[in-house]
């Protein structure tokens, strides 16, 4: 890995970021404040005016414009916001730097919320960015923050601001300051080249992590987002590995006699749970990353695979064909107390526990079609979010409100594989753009 890549990947510059609430207290009023209720399924997107962040001129002005674009794109993509066309705005970014907005002007352009901000020092070693959010309908200030960081982390600052706006207006944590690791695909279907790749959740800052000489599958982030566990066919021995993003170091996990696959970190990052196949039987094991001790959790003669921890670490969802066909099961994290979760028609696989703990996402195969859906951990409330010839492998945004998955479509005698996101209500399905074909996405936690 090059020095540039490493510096870039370390997300440097934000370690010393100063977050200050801007010194304007939100006045308390009896009136219900502006809020998007995202628990109600489909909502009308909130019209929001996001002005260019004021920078005066030069580099500050450029960064100010870029930050506003990223904030706007993040909020738009969520499906919950409708950023308005800045050409219609009646008040300039500079005018918004001091004093109250002219609320009537913003109501005229149809805005219900207004975002303005400023950038200073972008051409130096330390940049200051601030933003303010107003409730236009009520005519009041809602919140604002100021950040200091190195100028090359302007994208992260923009995502952090988008997260702050999302949180203030929905009451839920955001998910924009996150990354996606996935498998980039190229070449013929019979001999596909697969490489680990990583990018910001909006597709920017794309980097390949492996060279494609070795088949790699199913990458997943550690809770710190600094490590990735995945499966590699290095030396024709399919095993679970861990990849350190900072150092570029790759290391095989454990000393297992058979193929290991389907890895995921425990929520505390101390263990990796995975499957091992040997002599025609697949069971679930954990590897303690500190002691390197292996623990076998299942011993059914069937295929037990795709384990996923509950966010509190006490339970593991997995799939098994022990009952005759592939279905979802839940067990305690020590392997005891196994119970079956799904009883529906079709085959259920790839359970993934929501970071909120309230739902388990899955892939369902029924007839010749695939679907991605969710079910509550008690087995009730099963819902399908998307269906296609082939969809598979859901992963959750850290706020548990959005999922990503991949979709394969027959294309010109081969396959095209793309990433998509969809909200937990099954609305707002969108293509996630990648340079090459893409599969096996995994969403990071919010970047620490």
């Amino acid at each position: 890995m090059t020095t540039t890549t490493r510096r870039f990947l370390r997300l440097a510059g934000l370690a010393g970021a100063v977050l200050l609430a801007l010194g304007v207290a939100a006045p308390q009023t009896a009136r219900a404040e502006l809020r998007i209720d995202i628990t109600k399924g489909v909502v009308e997107p909130l019209p929001i005016a996001i002005t260019t962040f004021y920078g005066g001129g030069g580099r500050d002005a450029q960064v100010g414009a870029d930050i506003a674009k990223v904030v706007s794109a993040d909020l738009e993509r969520s499906g919950l916001f409708k950023p308005l066309n800045p050409q219609a705005f009646l008040q300039t970014p500079q005018q918004l730097q001091s004093g109250e907005p002219r609320y009537a002007d913003w109501r005229t352009v149809g805005a219900q919320a207004l975002v303005a901000g400023g950038v200073q020092g972008a051409s130096g070693g330390q940049m200051k960015v601030d933003f303010r959010l107003w409730d236009v309908t009520a005519g009041q200030y809602m919140s604002g923050l100021s950040y200091s960081a190195s100028p090359d982390s302007w994208r992260r600052i923009a995502h952090i601001i988008a997260d702050a706006i999302y949180k203030r207006l929905t009451g839920e944590d955001g998910y924009f300051d996150t990354r996606i690791v996935y498998v980039a695909e190229s070449g013929p279907a019979t001999n596909r080249t697969k490489r680990l790749a990583i990018m910001d959740q909006d597709g920017e800052n794309h980097q390949f992590l492996t060279d494609g000489k070795t088949l790699v599958l199913t990458p997943r982030f550690s809770p710190t987002a600094q490590e990735i566990t995945y499966m590699s066919y290095f030396n024709k021995k399919p095993r679970v590995y861990v990849f350190n993003i900072d150092s570029g170091r790759q290391e095989v996990l454990g000393d297992f006699p058979g193929m290991t696959f389907a890895p995921r970190f425990s929520p505390d990052g101390k263990r990796v749970v995975m499957s091992m196949a040997q002599n025609g039987n697949t069971d679930i094991f954990t590897l303690d990353l500190g002691t390197r001790r292996q623990t076998q959790l299942t011993d059914s003669p069937g295929i037990d695979t795709a384990p996923s921890y509950s966010p509190d670490g006490t339970k593991i969802a997995f799939e098994s064909d022990r009952g005759g066909s592939q279905q979802l099961y839940i067990m305690n994290s020590d392997g005891s107390g196994v119970r079956r979760l799904t009883f529906g028609n079709g085959r259920y696989g790839t359970p993934v526990w929501s970071p909120r703990g309230d739902l388990i996402a899955f892939t369902r195969q029924q007839g010749s079609g695939f679907a991605v859906g969710v079910v509550r951990p008690d087995g009730t409330g099963e819902r399908i979010l998307t269906e296609a010839y082939h969809v598979e492998g859901p992963t959750w945004a850290p706020n548990g409100r959005v999922l990503m998955f991949f979709k394969e479509t027959p294309s010109g005698g081969g396959r095209s594989a793309k990433l998509y996101s969809v909200d937990v209500g099954g609305f707002n399905e969108r293509r996630v753009s990648t340079p090459l074909d893409a599969s096996d996405p995994a969403w990071s936690p919010l970047i620490p």
């Binding site: 019979t190 599958l217 499966m231 196949a277 295929i303 799939e319 696989g349 598979e392 005698g413 096996d440």
Partner: protein, 156 residues
């Protein structure tokens, strides 16, 4: 280069098999090229014995036809006692990635067990699963799927 040529031979042998339900490929095919085949080689196995067996959907048990192919493979492995092989287990695209990895391992192991029962020392036979990652045939129909649900014997 050599590996490429062998892969091509395998593909040709397979094409010769059948349109709809694939037959266990190889036996008798390509007789015209026999004079160039090195005994005990992969090419020998593909052309004169049959290097692969096929499985039903989500199955890992061996059909009578598969067993006949593996009987020939066992004889061949006895003839060439210094040859070691790897059984590659494969699945069709209709399954999740992880499940198909496990299923491919189950299929490879099913072949290995059968060969062992015919007297082939297990130490000569390794297994590897490719799940749905390395289809033999591209296509989204029963014919393609049937040809991809396979166990392939590869000379080490």
């Amino acid at each position: 280069m050599r590996m490429k040529a062998l892969a091509l031979m395998a593909a040709l042998a397979l094409l010769g098999a059948c349109e709809s339900a694939p037959k266990d490929a190889g036996a008798g095919a390509g007789a015209g090229t026999q004079n160039t085949i090195v005994p005990g080689s992969q090419q020998d196995l593909v052309v004169n014995v049959g290097d692969r067996v096929f499985f039903g959907f989500d199955r890992s048990d061996l059909s009578a036809e598969a067993r006949a192919t593996l009987d020939r493979q066992a004889q061949w492995l006895k003839t060439y006692g210094n040859v070691n092989v790897t059984i590659e287990g494969h699945a069709d695209e209709r399954g999740t990635r992880e499940y198909n990895l496990a299923l491919g391992e189950r299929r490879a192991n099913s072949v290995k067990k059968y060969l062992a029962a015919q007297g082939i020392n297990a130490s000569r036979v390794k297994t590897i699963s490719y799940g749905k990652e390395r289809p033999a045939v591209v296509g989204s129909n029963e014919s393609a799927w049937a040809q991809n649900r396979r166990g392939v014997t590869v000379v080490d």
